[in-house]
C-alpha cells in the first residue's frame, strides 16, 4: 500500500500553489527548455547571469505539482548565488531527489519535502527536470527563448 498523499507535503503544495519565479519577466542571458519524456511536459528555465552571479531566475511551462514545486525551490535556492558555487548548490537537492544524499540531513532541511520523492521512482524525473534544465541553461550562453 503506497501513501501517495505523503508525496504532496505541505511545503511542496505551498510552492506548487504559489511558485517563486513562475512566469517572471527577466532580462534573459541564458535559457533552456527541458522535456519529461514520460509525459511530454516541458519546462523552460530562464536565467540572468551578470557579474558571475545568478541575478534573476524564472521558469515557465505546463508541468505537474512536483516539477513546479521543485522549480520554485530552485528559484529560491539559486537566486543571487555565484556561478562558482552552483555545482555544489544543486548537488544537494538533486542527490536528495535521487536518494543519493549521504551528508548530514540538516544541511538539506529546506529541501526535506523533495526527499520523499525517492520513494516514488516514477515521479523522480518530474522533480529533477527543473534542475537539469537549469544546468542546460547555464551551458547555453545567450540562447534566447523561443
Amino acid at each position: 500500500m503506497n501513501t501517495t498523499a505523503g508525496l504532496y507535503q505541505k511545503v511542496l503544495l505551498e510552492h506548487h500553489k504559489n511558485p517563486l519565479g513562475f512566469h517572471n519577466k527577466i532580462a534573459i542571458t541564458h535559457s533552456a527548455t527541458g522535456a519529461n519524456v514520460v509525459c511530454g511536459d516541458e519546462i523552460t528555465v530562464e536565467v540572468n547571469i551578470t557579474a558571475g552571479k545568478v541575478q534573476e531566475l524564472a521558469f515557465l511551462g505546463d508541468s505537474c505539482a512536483i516539477c513546479r514545486a521543485s522549480a520554485s525551490m530552485m528559484c529560491q535556492h539559486l537566486l543571487h548565488q555565484p556561478l562558482s558555487q552552483i555545482a555544489n548548490l544543486i548537488k544537494v537537492p538533486m542527490d536528495l531527489i535521487k536518494g543519493e544524499y549521504t551528508a548530514a540531513v540538516n544541511s538539506a532541511e529546506c529541501f526535506s519535502s523533495l526527499a520523499v520523492i525517492k520513494q516514488y521512482p516514477v515521479r523522480m524525473q518530474c522533480a529533477l527536470l527543473p534542475w537539469q534544465t537549469f544546468i542546460s541553461a547555464i551551458n547555453n550562453k545567450n540562447e534566447q527563448r523561443g
Binding site: 501517495t4 509525459c39 511530454g40 505537474c64 515521479r123
Partner: protein, 413 residues
C-alpha cells in the same frame, strides 16, 4: 443495478492476498488476466511445453497443433474470410511494422504517400513516418470530425494514385469512438489502395467482423483482450503475405538455404521465425474461449451500461474537461474517456488516485500529436473492463473531487 461485476471473482488480482481494494480503470493499456487464462498458460508451460513446428516427437507435434488450432480460433473470432492468413506476432506494434517494412516499403518512392489519421497511437504513426522520411515521401494526416471519428470525406480527398496504404485505428486509444472502417475500406479500394486497421482497442468490444470490414490487414494484441502480453496477430487478406519478404530472418522460415542464398516458405510461418510463443498463443485462445463463454452480448451490455454511467458522472463534475464531449450521433459509447481536471496536472491526479488504489492512465497515452491537436500535453484516461462496476466509477468521482480540492490553482487560471 448491481454494484459489483459478476465476473470480478474470475480475476485473482482482486483476491484478499493480492489487491482486494484495487479499482482498475486502465484496461485500454492492458486488461487484467482472468484465472482461466493464467491457468491455461501455467498448465501448458508445466505439462505440455515443447518447441512447435520443429520436433518429430509427439510433444512437439502437440505444441504445433496448439498453434495451428489457435490460428483457426483467432480467424473465427475475427470472422476472417477463408482466403486469408494469420500471423502470430509479439503484438500490434510488430504487426504494423511488418506491413510497413514488407508490404509498403518495397513499393516506396519519393512520389508515394501514406494516409493515416490524426488520432493514431505512436505504433500506427512512427513506422509510416519513418519509411516516408527514408524515401522522402509524404505522410498525409486525415482529420477527425467534431465528433472525434475519422472524417471520411476529408480522408477520401487525400487518396490518389500514389497512395500506397491507408493505416487507421478501428478505435482510438484516446477518444474511444468506433471509426467507420468499412466505409474507409470501400473508399480506398475504389482507388486500388490497401487498408490496414489497428484493432488494438477494438477487439475488447467484440463483434469484430473482418469479412464485413473488408480490410487488407488487421492487427491486435492479446493483452487488450484479457490474454497475455507478448502475443499478437496480423491478419492479411488473400495472398498479400506471399508477395511480402520476411521481416525478421531466422529458423523455421525457409524451404532451402545454402551459404549463398535462401528460399523462403510461402505461408504465415515466413513471418514467425525462431521459436513460437506457444504459451502466449495458448493464453490468447483461452481468453477468446473465456469471453465467448460469457457471451459478447453480455460483455457489450455490461461495458455499455458502465460507459453511460461513467460519461454521465463525469459530466456532473464541472471541473472535468473531456478532450472531446460525447456525441450521441457517434456509433456506440466509448469504453474509455480521456479528460483533464481544470487547473490540475494529469500526473498529480493519477498519483493521488493511486493513493486511493485507483489505477488510471495519465500522460499522452502514446498519442502525442493528438494531444497537441487538442492543445494539451496530457490527459487522464479512465477505461473499462469486465471487472469494473458502478462502485468503481463512484470511487473515481470521489477521488477526482479530492484531487481537485487539493491541487487546483484557481487563482492562476
Amino acid at each position: 443495478m448491481a454494484t459489483t461485476s459478476a465476473w470480478k471473482h474470475d480475476f485473482p488480482i482482486f483476491s484478499a492476498n493480492a489487491h482486494p481494494k484495487l479499482c482498475y480503470l486502465d484496461s485500454a493499456a492492458t486488461c487484467l488476466t482472468p484465472k482461466h487464462v493464467a491457468d491455461a498458460m501455467y498448465h501448458y508451460q508445466c505439462y505440455s511445453h515443447a518447441n512447435s513446428h520443429k520436433g518429430l516427437y509427439q510433444l512437439s507435434a502437440n505444441a504445433t497443433e496448439l498453434v495451428e488450432k489457435g490460428r483457426n480460433k483467432v480467424a473465427e473470432f475475427l470472422n476472417a474470410p477463408t482466403q486469408s492468413e494469420l500471423v502470430f506476432t509479439s503484438g500490434t506494434t510488430e504487426s504494423i511494422n511488418i506491413v510497413a517494412n514488407c508490404f509498403v516499403a518495397p513499393k516506396m518512392n519519393r512520389d508515394a504517400n501514406i494516409v493515416i489519421s490524426s488520432a493514431e497511437h505512436h505504433a500506427n504513426l512512427l513506422p509510416w513516418q519513418e519509411i516516408c522520411r527514408l524515401h522522402d515521401a509524404e505522410l498525409r494526416i486525415a482529420p477527425l470530425t467534431l465528433s472525434g471519428i475519422i472524417d471520411t470525406k476529408a480522408l477520401d480527398l487525400l487518396l490518389d494514385n500514389n497512395t500506397l496504404i491507408v493505416a487507421i485505428s478501428h478505435v482510438s486509444n484516446v477518444l474511444g469512438f468506433i471509426n467507420p472502417v468499412a466505409e474507409i475500406c470501400q473508399l480506398a479500394h475504389k482507388k486500388g489502395i490497401a487498408v490496414l486497421i489497428d484493432g488494438a482497442q477494438a477487439v475488447a468490444h467484440g463483434n469484430v467482423n473482418i469479412a464485413e470490414i473488408g480490410c487488407d490487414f488487421y492487427t491486435f494484441s492479446a493483452h487488450k483482450l484479457y490474454g497475455p502480453t507478448g502475443c499478437g496477430v496480423l491478419y492479411a487478406k488473400g495472398d498479400h503475405l506471399s508477395h511480402m519478404p520476411p521481416y525478421i530472418l531466422g529458423g523455421g522460415i525457409i524451404n532451402k538455404v545454402t551459404f549463398q542464398e535462401a528460399e523462403y516458405i510461402n505461408s504465415p510461418l515466413k513471418f514467425e521465425p525462431g521459436s513460437h510463443n506457444v504459451v502466449g498463443i495458448v493464453g490468447l485462445v483461452e481468453a477468446i474461449d473465456y469471453l465467448n463463454d460469457i457471451s459478447w452480448f453480455d460483455i457489450t451490455r455490461h461495458i455499455s451500461d458502465l460507459s453511460t454511467y461513467l460519461v454521465d458522472k463525469l459530466a456532473d463534475l464541472d471541473f472535468v474537461k473531456p478532450l472531446l464531449k460525447h456525441n450521441c450521433n457517434v456509433q456506440s459509447l466509448p469504453s474509455l474517456v480521456s479528460f483533464q481536471l481544470e487547473g490540475v496536472h494529469a500526473h498529480d491526479v493519477a498519483s493521488l488516485l493511486d493513493s486511493e488504489n485507483i489505477a488510471v492512465r495519465a500522460g499522452h497515452h502514446c498519442a502525442q500529436p493528438l494531444h497537441q491537436m487538442f492543445g494539451v500535453h496530457s490527459s487522464i484516461r479512465s477505461s473499462l473492463g469486465l471487472y469494473n462496476s458502478y462502485q468503481d466509477i463512484d470511487r473515481l468521482v470521489i477521488a477526482l473531487n479530492n484531487a481537485y480540492q487539493l491541487f487546483a490553482i484557481r487563482e492562476l487560471e
